[in-house]
């Protein structure tokens, strides 16, 4: 083990600094505000620091380490040039409060990204301000809320979500002050139009749904659902976490949605960084556009004088929507993430459709390969599809309930068995509607060989002795971590007393 707070031997700093500027009088902190005890930070030299974080990194699994079939998370490859671009001073060293003529490059990229997302989603206006998917949801729901307020429809206090929805959907709507109405899915995992019709009424502000849904199924009835919600006067909200499946093939706009958020860190490959940063732009139809948080990037023809500073024939500028809800992040969103996603977009351009096709190809292929291997090995009775479907989209679900019933092997056991074989585990126990669910999303950046080999390993795990599997993982830096112990014996920081 390498412990940050263990390195306390010498009076080190890992980073010698130049002298500060000489002053006529020494600056002083008001007496009552002078820091009494310095933070008990470690004293590491640079070599110690480098070794510590190198060591930590070796105890972490990323896409670069191996296959990462985490359903709903779209763990695709992060193109490396994007990191180079994001470190250019023209993005790393700019301040959101600089005047527009200092930021023509940024503004033009914002404009291009807004436009691209509008095209792909079939929306009229996009804002890049939200910094994560959940914040995008919240922002869009807030816009819908203000939209109805302005129309005087203040009775619309409810938001409908399917029971398979991601937790952020109800959480975001609730945060905005809405009441949540959950509707059950049909036995085949799809939306239940009757259940929807039963709840959609004049109190409905919106319905939130993702399509393909969290089971990886395309909701063929989506137009009908939109129809029902719109009939009731509500708005249709599209959770774009699964956008990777349909880009260039269909769009939320075509399906009748009024608002959508994008998880750029999924579809457009901003690296996930162990939990973030992300970027969660939203797009809306024209009637919601006046409510978006500002500023948005806009453009007009450049004047001859401006042309000397312009990046093209346009002058890019910020624009404040008329009834803007204001700000949901203090600046212009995660500009650094937007740049990376812009670089990602540029690599595909109008070929984004191919990206989605390969994502769906890989998902279906992996599903097929697992079933085939399992059949050959005689373990296909240990799991069933999370939902019957001819073709999945970019991800699919398996239910381990049969294995649980027959052998006491849970989805978690299988997940840990996969860790031992060098894989990140699929998403487990989500969506809740599939018992002992494993949700598998390979993404388009995995090779057929990787998928074939994973299918073999998956089946190997199922053929393990259950006892052995309960012990898994055994090859990882630590073995099964006791989460109950963690919650019961809260230790949320280094206890210096022990040291």
């Amino acid at each position: 083990m390498s412990h940050l707070f263990g390195h306390n031997g010498a009076e080190n700093t890992g980073y010698s600094q130049p002298e500060g500027l000489a002053c006529a009088t020494k600056p002083v902190v008001p007496a009552g505000l002078v820091r009494q005890q310095p933070a008990r930070w470690p004293r590491l030299s640079e070599p110690e620091m480098v070794r510590h974080y190198t060591w930590l990194s070796k105890r972490n699994f990323g896409i670069d380490t191996g296959f990462y079939p985490l359903g709903s998370c779209t763990m695709k490859h992060n193109p490396r040039v994007n990191e180079v671009i994001a470190q250019l001073p023209g993005i790393a060293d700019i301040h959101p409060h600089q005047p527009e003529h200092h930021l023509q490059g940024l503004l033009s990229i914002y404009y291009e990204m807004q436009h691209m997302l509008e095209v792909c989603a079939g929306m009229d206006q996009v804002t890049l301000q939200p910094v994560a998917g959940a914040q995008g949801e919240f922002t869009a729901v807030r816009c819908i809320q203000e939209y109805f307020r302005l129309r005087g429809e203040t009775q619309r206090t409810k938001v409908i979500v399917p029971d398979s929805a991601h937790g952020t959907n109800p959480a975001s709507a609730a945060m905005a002050g809405f009441e949540i109405v959950e509707i059950p899915s049909r036995a085949d995992g799809r939306i239940d139009l009757d259940a929807l019709a039963a709840v959609a009424d004049e109190t409905t502000a919106a319905m939130m749904i993702t399509n393909p849904n969290t089971l990886g199924l395309f909701e063929a009835d989506i137009s009908a659902a939109s129809e029902i919600v719109h009939q009731a006067g509500g708005q249709m909200y599209y959770d774009g976490a699964n956008f990777n499946a349909i880009l260039g093939i269909t769009s939320p706009g075509l399906m009748g949605f009024d608002a959508v958020h994008f998880n750029l860190h999924k579809t457009f490959s901003q690296p996930h960084g162990g939990g973030g940063p992300g970027s969660g732009p939203i797009g809306v139809k024209a009637h919601l556009a006046p409510f978006l948080p500002g500023p948005l990037a806009a453009r007009r023809e450049a004047t001859p004088e401006e042309r000397t500073m312009a990046v093209d024939e346009h002058w890019y500028h910020w624009h404040q929507p008329e009834h803007s809800i204001g700000k949901i992040q203090q600046w212009h969103g995660n500009a650094g993430a937007v740049i990376r996603c812009w670089a990602y977009y540029r690599r595909y351009g109008n070929g984004l459709t191919t990206m989605s096709q390969h994502a769906v190809l890989n998902a279906n292929y992996l599903r097929h390969a697992i079933h085939r291997e399992a059949k050959d090995a005689g373990v296909d009775h240990l799991f069933v599809d999370g939902a019957e479907t001819e073709v999945a989209k970019h991800e699919f679900t398996l239910s381990m309930q049969p294995a649980k019933d027959a052998l006491g092997i849970s989805a978690m056991d299988v997940a840990k068995g996969l860790l031992d074989r060098g894989y990140m585990a699929p998403t487990v126990y989500f969506p809740l509607v599939v018992p002992e669910c494993m949700m598998i999303e390979p993404t388009e950046t995995e090779s057929k060989d990787t998928l074939d080999t994973f299918a073999k390993h998956f089946v190997q795990v199922l053929k393990c002795d259950p006892e052995t599997l309960h012990e898994a993982p055994i090859t990882t830096p630590v073995r099964r971590v006791d989460e109950v112990y963690a919650a019961r014996n809260l230790c949320l920081r280094h206890p210096f007393e022990d040291a």
């Binding site: 105890r59 040039v81 792909c120 952020t168 945060m175 137009s223 269909t250 971590v481 949320l492």
Partner: protein
Amino acid sequence: MVDQLPNRGRETEMLSQMGFKSMEDLFADIPAEVRFKGDLPLRGPQSEEEILSDARRLLGANLALGSRPSFLGAGLYRNYVPASVFQLVTRGEFLTAYTPYQPEVSQGMLQAMWEFQTLISELVGLPIANLSLYDGSTAAAEALTCAVRVHNRKASQPNTVYVSALTPPDKRSVMENYCQGAEIDIRTLEHNPDGTLNLEALKEAAGSCGVYVEQPNPLGVLDEGLTAVKEIVGEHTALIVGVQPVSLGVVEAPGHYGADIVVGEGQPLGSPVTGGGPLYGIFACTQPYLRLMPGRIVGRSIDVDGKEAYCLTLSTREQHIRRHRATSNICTNETLIALMGAMHMALLGPDGLRELAQRNMQACQRAKEILSETPGVRLVHPSAHFNEFAIQVTGNAEACLAYLDANGITGGFNLASWYPDLTDQILVTTTDQTSLSDIEALAAQLALWTTHQEVSA
């Protein structure tokens, strides 16, 4: 594009193994009426080289702060971040991981975040810190809703919080958005002409759910009076202090003068300004807030062999478990930027942080000294500052800034954008990166500006 898709050229083979004939078969379930017709009306794909060259051209059209003397801060600060931070944080194991749902193969990030929690906890003087929120503004906003959740029952002013009048409107707007769902009333705390909090007026806030103030405050003022706030507002009102983390190398940790929650923009530790994001929000608190606070938190635990191991804990507060009853909707957060923060903090150590804070203060002091002798320039607040301060210029601040800009200086922040009445004030920010010649250039141009004004006046 081709270079990202390992199965290009194997489509038919894969499809036929599944019994499909074409890609189209995979999308047969999507009804015709919602299908795109034709190609996406977007530009064609580019190669890595072309993208890089376009990026260089477009981003090159932005004016980097470091390319000339710059005094723009106002919430985001350019400190030097050592090279090792960038090189380590971009290691694929950190960069390309998801949230550590499988702790057995995510010990690296989990331990790093647990260490981050410790570093922040020590920095702000509070026992608990989460592993970051989106940024300083959402951290402040979430602190308000958290305070209401904790205190609403006992508060004499339920559903009410008080926020410093100096709070930048953009940040205040985030607060409004976050608070309106819970129907929280946000009231305003007045300040004295010298920039400090009006402690008399503050009494009104006693018994509310929380008060939000900043140290140093948005005018850069170090306000000794804040040490008296907790006493005034009382036990059942959360004292929430927003901090510039670097200042805590020399300025007392708010946890040591009664803060219940400390929030702040983490950026100055570990991250470049990056056009305003990604950043990371600091959120730390005392025990009573723990179970109602937003965001992820890592706990130290053991594995089945009793070995030290780390995992996410207290997840029952979070959206993926508690759904619409969660303490926040946050899911994706800013872990990697927080990791950069942790690395920077680890490199600095206590002495390094103090030095860094002193360098910021010295640059500020020197700038004050020089500008106080610059004709036409007046320091607005006599008080102690950390690394920024307001000046009053001759004539209009906006025009003055445009003049400075035209003369090669990014001159600071026009305070009228926050406080519309202050049409002749500029917030001047210095950091460890400010040189004497930068300050002298600013002073010289301000003097010229003054002359021009006097001539045209």
